[in-house]
C-alpha cells in the first residue's frame, strides 16, 4: 500500500473525501449505535462508554481552566529566617553525605561475614612448582598445597594437559559447621565452593583456605522455610587453616 502511494500518489479528491468522511463520522456513529444488535452492539457500547467518560473529563478540565480560583494560600513548610534562606544547600549536603554513608553501610551489611578480612596468600605458598619433561626442564605444572574440594563425579583432565594438580590427599568432602546461635557443631558434606576471597582462580579450582565461603548440605539440620519447604543448602565460612589441621571448621552464615 505504501509502495503504491509512493509510486502513484493519491486520488485527486482524496482530501475532499477525507474531510467529508470525518464530518460524517459523528452521524454514522450515532446511527450505528442505534441500529446494531447482538454482541457486536455490546462491544460497541462498551467502547463508546469509555470514550464518553474520557471526553467528559477533558471538558471539565477545560472549564476549570477558565475559572480563576483563589489560591489556597498553601504556605510552604520549613520557614527559615533571611540569613538561612540561601544556605539550604549546606544542610542538604550534610543530609546527602549521611544518606550516602548509610546506604553504603546497608549494602555492605548485606554481605557481612564473620571474617570480613583474611590474610593474603602468596602464590609460592599456594602452589608447588612441578618440574616435568625428560630432563625435568619444563616447569609449567603446579600442585595445590592447600585443601581443595573437587565435588562428586570429578574426573581429572588428561594428565599431560593438566596444569593444576589437586592431590587426592588434600581433597576434603566434609566440614564441621558451627551454628552461631545454637553453638552446636555438625559435620556436613560440602556441596561446592562459592567464593574464595583470595582470587577467582582459586574459587574455580575449589581451594579451601581461611575465609572461603562454601555451600554445605544442611538437610540434616531440618530447617524449614516460611513457605514450608525444607532448606537443604546454606553458606558457611571457613574459620581455620584446613591444610594445617586436616579438617575444615566453619561457621554457618544465617
Amino acid at each position: 500500500m505504501d509502495e503504491h502511494r509512493k509510486r502513484h500518489g493519491r486520488r485527486m479528491d482524496y482530501e475532499e473525501k477525507k474531510r467529508k468522511r470525518t464530518a460524517r463520522e459523528a452521524h454514522k456513529a450515532s446511527a450505528d449505535a442505534q441500529k446494531i444488535f447482538g454482541h457486536k452492539a455490546k462491544l460497541q457500547h462498551a467502547k463508546r462508554h469509555a470514550e464518553k467518560v474520557q471526553m467528559k473529563k477533558t471538558l471539565k478540565a477545560h472549564d476549570e481552566r477558565n475559572v480563576k480560583q483563589k489560591d489556597d494560600g498553601a504556605v510552604k513548610e520549613g520557614a527559615l529566617p533571611t540569613y538561612l534562606l540561601d544556605r539550604e544547600g549546606q544542610k542538604d549536603a550534610k543530609a546527602l553525605s549521611t544518606a550516602v554513608k548509610d546506604r553504603r553501610k546497608d549494602r555492605a551489611a548485606k554481605y557481612s561475614v564473620p571474617l570480613p578480612k583474611v590474610r593474603g596468600i602468596a602464590e609460592e605458598e599456594m602452589f608447588k612448582v612441578i618440574k616435568t619433561g625428560k630432563h625435568k626442564g619444563k616447569s609449567w605444572k603446579r600442585m595445590v598445597n592447600k585443601a581443595t574440594f573437587v565435588g562428586e563425579g570429578f574426573t581429572r583432565k588428561p594428565v599431560k594437559l593438566e596444569r593444576f594438580i589437586r592431590p587426592m590427599g588434600l581433597r576434603m568432602t566434609k566440614a564441621n559447621v558451627t551454628h552461631p546461635e545454637l553453638k552446636t557443631t555438625f559435620q556436613l558434606p560440602i556441596l561446592g565452593v562459592k567464593k574464595n576471597p583470595q582470587s577467582p582462580l582459586y574459587t574455580s579450582l575449589g581451594v579451601l583456605t581461611k575465609g572461603t565461603i562454601v555451600e554445605v548440605n544442611v538437610s540434616e539440620l531440618g530447617m524449614v522455610t516460611t513457605g514450608g519447604k525444607v532448606v537443604w543448602s546454606k553458606y558457611a565460612q571457613i574459620t581455620n587453616n584446613p591444610e594445617n589441621d586436616g579438617c575444615i571448621n566453619s561457621v554457618l552464615l544465617v
Binding site: G73, V75, A79, L80, P81, T82, Y83, L84, L85, D86
Partner: protein, 521 residues
C-alpha cells in the same frame, strides 16, 4: 593475714586545739604606690596630671577621682577603666588587648601573673564613660507566648519598648504587649513567610516584608493594615529600613521606607501615599541588608560581594566598597540604636508632637556623632568583617579615603552571621557560625575578646540599651547573657526547645523567638 584498716584518727579535743599557737597572720605585702595617668578613651587626651596613688585604690574611688578631675561632681558619670598592656616582643599567643580594672589596679594588674606590669611604670588608665542608667539583669523567662503556628523568623521591639512584633512562617505577624506579656494583635495578609519586621521611630507604622515579595504596612494602635500592600519586588524581601526621624522633611507625615530584596533591587517607598519614590538598582545579586544612615545616606550590602552607598535624596550611587571576598551578610551602623529609638530614651519622656520628636531625635544623633562619626561595619561569609569610615560627603576632609576600610576584623573561623554595634557605639559584637561571639573596639576595630560558650552556630546578637549587657541567640536552643567585665557567661537562658532564630533587647526584657513557635520574654 588480711590487711586491716588503720583505726580512725583520734580527734583533737578543744583543749588541745587551744594549746596550739594561733596562726600568724599572713605577712602584709607592702602596697606599692603607683603613678596613674587618666586618659580619656574618646580622644586620648590626659584628664589631669599624673597622680600618685596606692595600688589598691578601688574602682569607686578611681571613678570619684576622674569625676573630680573632669569637674563633674554634680552628676557623676560611671566609668569603666582598662589598661593596655605592653606586649612583649616574643608573644605568640594573641591576648585580649586590654586588661579591665574591676577591683583595683593591685588585684587586676599587678597580682595577676602573665601581665607585664610593674609598680614602677606610669599606668595609663583609659576611662570610658558608661551610660548613667543601668539595665536590670535578665534572669529568667517570665512568659512563654504561643500563638504562631510556624517557626518565628524575626522579631523587633518598638522604640518605646511597650510592644514587640514578631513575624513567622505561618504568614502572620503578631504584636505583643511587653508590659502585660499578652498578645495584642494578629496581622494577617501576607501570602508567604513574614521574613522581616521593622518599627518606625515614632511607633506609628509597622512594616513587614514577606517571602512573597510584598511589603505590608500596619498601624500598631489598631492592628489594621495601613493601605494596600506595596508590590514591586519580584523575589522575597531580605531587609527593611525606615528613614531616620531627624531626616524627615517637614512636609511628609511618615518616614520613607527602604526595602531590599533577593531580586537585587532596593525600593524606596513613600509610606504616606504608599507609592514608589525611586529604585536603587546596580547590585548584581541579592541585596542582603539595607540601612538608612543618619546623614541621608543609604548603605546596601549584597551577595555580589560589594557594599554600595547611595544618596537618600535622589537615589544616586555615591560609592561602591569592594573589599569583601564573599557574600556580605550583615551590616551595622554605630548610630543604629539611636536611629531606631528616635526620640525615646531612657528617661521615658514622651515628646509632645512631631516637631519636638524630631528635634529630640536630632539632638540625640548629634550628641553621639560629635565624638564618633557614623561608622559602618559589614560582616561576610569570608569569615571577616570590615570597619568603614564615615561615608557621608561632609567628611571628605579626613585623611583616610572613604573607600578604604579602617580595619579588617579577622578571627572568626566560619561565616559571620550577625554584627551589632553597642548603643554607645563603643563596641562591636559579631556572631558567627563557629560558635563564638567576638567583641571588637568600635572606633578602631581592634579585637577585645572572644565569648565562647555556645555549642552550635550563633545566629543573632543584641545589646542592652546601656551597652553593658549582650545577649546572643544560637542554634543550640539557648540564649546566653554575657558579662562584659569578665567576658564570660553571666546567665544562661535555656527554655527554647528548638533553634532560636531572633532576639531583641528592650528596656529590661529580652524577646526571643525560634523554631519552636513560641515567643519567650
Amino acid at each position: 593475714m588480711a590487711t586491716l584498716l588503720p583505726p580512725p584518727k583520734r580527734q583533737k579535743s578543744n583543749y588541745a586545739k587551744s594549746l596550739e599557737k594561733p596562726k600568724e597572720p599572713e605577712p602584709e605585702i607592702a602596697i606599692p604606690s603607683i603613678v596613674v595617668q587618666f586618659k580619656s578613651s574618646e580622644d586620648g587626651s590626659n584628664l589631669g596630671p599624673a597622680i600618685n596613688l596606692p595600688a589598691d585604690t578601688g574602682r569607686d574611688a578611681l571613678q570619684m577621682l576622674v569625676n573630680k578631675l573632669r569637674g563633674e561632681t554634680e552628676d557623676p558619670l560611671p566609668y569603666a577603666f582598662h589598661l593596655l598592656p605592653k606586649l612583649p616582643s616574643t608573644s605568640t599567643t594573641p591576648q585580649s588587648s586590654r586588661v579591665q580594672i574591676n577591683n583595683s589596679i593591685q588585684l587586676d594588674a599587678l597580682k595577676v601573673s602573665g601581665t607585664t606590669f610593674s609598680p614602677e611604670d606610669v599606668f595609663e588608665l583609659w576611662c570610658e564613660p558608661q551610660a548613667v542608667f543601668r539595665v536590670r539583669s535578665v534572669g529568667r523567662c517570665s512568659a512563654t507566648l504561643t500563638g504562631h503556628s510556624s517557626p518565628i523568623l524575626c522579631c523587633a521591639h518598638s522604640p518605646t519598648g511597650k510592644y514587640a512584633a514578631t513575624g513567622s512562617g505561618d504568614a502572620t505577624a503578631r504584636i505583643w504587649d511587653m508590659d502585660t506579656e499578652t498578645p495584642k494583635w494578629t496581622l494577617t495578609g501576607h501570602k508567604g513567610w513574614v521574613l522581616c519586621v521593622e518599627w518606625d521611630s515614632r511607633e506609628k507604622i509597622l512594616a513587614t516584608g514577606g517571602h512573597d515579595g510584598q511589603v505590608r504596612l500596619w498601624t500598631p494602635a489598631t492592628g489594621q493594615p495601613f493601605g494596600q500592600p506595596l508590590l514591586g519586588h519580584t523575589k522575597w524581601i531580605t531587609s527593611l529600613s525606615f528613614e531616620p526621624l531627624h531626616l524627615m522633611s517637614s512636609k511628609s507625615t511618615s518616614p520613607r521606607l527602604a526595602t531590599a530584596s533577593k531580586d537585587g533591587t532596593v525600593r524606596i517607598w513613600n509610606t504616606s501615599t504608599r507609592t514608589l519614590d525611586f529604585v536603587l538598582t546596580g547590585h548584581a545579586a541579592s541585596v542582603n541588608v539595607v540601612r538608612w544612615g543618619g546623614e541621608n545616606v543609604i548603605y546596601t550590602g549584597s551577595s555580589d560581594r560589594t557594599v554600595k552607598v547611595w544618596s537618600g535624596v535622589d537615589g544616586k550611587l555615591i560609592r561602591t566598597l569592594n573589599e569583601h571576598a564573599h557574600w556580605v551578610n550583615t551590616m551595622a551602623l554605630s548610630t543604629d540604636f539611636i536611629l531606631r529609638t528616635g526620640p525615646y530614651d531612657h528617661t521615658g519622656k514622651l515628646p509632645k508632637d512631631d516637631e519636638e520628636a524630631k528635634s529630640i531625635a536630632l539632638a540625640r544623633y548629634k550628641h553621639l556623632t560629635s565624638t564618633h562619626p557614623e561608622a559602618l561595619i559589614t560582616g561576610s561569609d569570608d569569615h571577616t568583617l570590615f570597619l568603614w569610615p564615615d561615608q557621608a560627603s561632609s567628611s571628605f576632609s579626613s585623611t583616610a579615603t572613604p573607600k578604604k576600610p579602617l580595619a579588617r576584623l579577622t578571627g572568626h573561623q566560619k561565616q559571620v552571621n550577625h554584627v551589632a554595634f553597642s548603643p554607645d557605639g563603643r563596641m562591636i559584637a559579631s556572631a558567627g557560625f563557629d560558635n563564638a561571639v567576638k567583641i571588637w573596639e568600635g572606633k578602631t576595630g581592634k579585637f577585645i575578646a572572644s565569648l565562647r560558650g555556645h555549642v552550635a552556630a550563633v545566629y543573632r546578637v543584641a545589646w542592652s540599651a546601656d551597652s553593658r549587657m549582650l545577649v546572643s541567640a544560637s542554634k543550640d536552643t539557648t540564649l546566653k547573657l554575657w558579662n562584659l567585665k569578665t567576658y564570660k557567661i553571666r546567665i544562661d537562658l535555656p527554655g527554647h526547645t528548638d533553634e532560636v532564630y531572633c532576639v531583641d533587647f528592650v528596656a529590661d526584657k529580652v524577646v526571643s523567638g525560634g523554631r519552636d513557635k513560641s515567643v519567650k520574654m
